[in-house]
């Protein structure tokens, strides 16, 4: 009975979970509490309002909270742009705390289907800050970055990236 519930949960997760507004607490109860039981399967969901994301460029901001996902009823996925508010920033940076910025999601814990049928998922949710025209504000991007950005025409971020997954 427990098994069936868990499997149902997993199937249901992607499509219906967002409606339940369990956004950021689930990803934060992280893998560190590694339990042997398979009931602990993580349902990763979209990036919505109030999702805190890491900033991976050197624009000055450290943590950013999503205000609005552009283009997506349920939320932003890998490669989408979001509007965010800077929550934590480095003292001398181009971007200050409290500023409203645009960002491109470069890493998402939610899996994204690739055109060959496989799926990609990253370890965390991360964003690269961008201006309204889509040009990155920072000059460097840290960590791995997916192929999907090429299709979304974020080529500049790809060129700045150190590692393309």
């Amino acid at each position: 009975m427990a098994a069936s519930f868990a499997s149902r949960c997993y199937r249901v997760g992607r499509s219906l979970m967002d409606g339940l507004q369990n956004f950021s607490n689930l990803p934060s109860t992280s893998r560190e509490m590694a339990c042997g039981s398979f009931l602990y399967q993580q349902q990763r969901t979209f990036i919505q309002m109030r999702t805190v994301l890491k900033v991976v460029d050197n624009s000055g901001a450290k943590k950013v909270m999503c205000i609005q996902p552009l283009k997506g009823k349920k939320g932003a996925r890998l490669g989408d742009t979001i509007i965010a508010s800077v929550k934590e920033a480095m003292p001398n940076g181009k971007v200050k705390k409290g500023k409203v910025v645009y960002g491109v999601v470069v890493r998402a814990a939610m899996q994204r289907g690739r055109c060959d049928g496989s799926e990609v998922k990253f370890d965390d949710n991360a964003v690269a800050l961008v201006d309204k025209q889509g040009q990155p504000i920072g000059t460097r991007v840290f960590g791995p970055v997916p192929h999907e950005l090429r299709q979304k025409k974020h080529v500049k971020i790809l060129t700045l990236a150190g590692h393309i997954a």
């Binding site: 590694a34 055109c115 049928g117 496989s118 799926e119 960590g143 791995p144």
Partner: protein, 190 residues
């Protein structure tokens, strides 16, 4: 009108071919190996997990992915390739296969003293022929020895006859002479 239409369709066909080639390149058309279990991942299957340190993990199914995230070790799970390798299963079969492949063949090359033809002739000789040749050679040697023996015997007989003839005349000088050839004959016989 007909000629222009023909040209258009050919171009279209080339473009289509070009596009499909690109698409083929973009799509994964090879099998990868699961990082956890060692199983083959066919195109369209599998989950790719990219860790924050840019390390990429490929899982063949959610089972492997789940075990990985729950920090289970593949070397402790009997069904994974890592376990089998560690506990040395299936290695005997592989070793047998490898041994069969290395069998040396006789290398034909001419050497100083025997050209390639001579070597090949000797190799292709039948054992009877070889035995016959050997026997013939032995017989030859035996005959040669016999001949020398006979000669020496004849010589000795001559010398003895001569000795008997001239025994009255003088023994002392002849005493030394038969000794000489006899000694030589004795040495030869040996």
């Amino acid at each position: 009108m007909g000629a222009s239409r023909k040209r258009i369709t050919e171009q279209h066909r080339l473009e289509y071919k070009f596009l499909t080639l690109i698409e083929e390149w973009m799509y994964k058309v090879w099998t990868e190996l699961c990082r956890f279990s060692g199983a083959k991942i066919y195109p369209g299957k599998g989950i790719r997990f990219v860790r924050s340190d840019s390390q990429v993990f490929l899982f063949s199914n959610s089972k492997c992915k789940r075990y990985f995230h729950n920090r289970l070790k593949p070397s402790k799970l009997t069904w994974t390739a890592m376990y089998r390798k560690q506990h040395k299963k299936d290695i005997a079969q592989e070793a047998v296969r490898k041994r069969r492949r290395t069998t040396k063949k006789p290398y034909s090359r001419s050497i100083v003293g025997a050209t390639l033809e001579v070597i090949q002739k000797k190799r292709s000789e039948k054992p009877e022929v070889r035995d016959a040749a050997r026997e013939a050679a032995l017989r030859e040697i035996k005959e040669r020895i016999k001949k020398t023996k006979d000669e020496k015997k004849a010589k000795k007989a001559e010398v003895v006859a001569k000795q008997q003839k001239t025994q009255g005349k003088g023994n002392v000088p002849k005493g030394g002479a038969p000794k000489g050839p006899k000694l030589g004959g004795g040495g030869g016989k040996r």
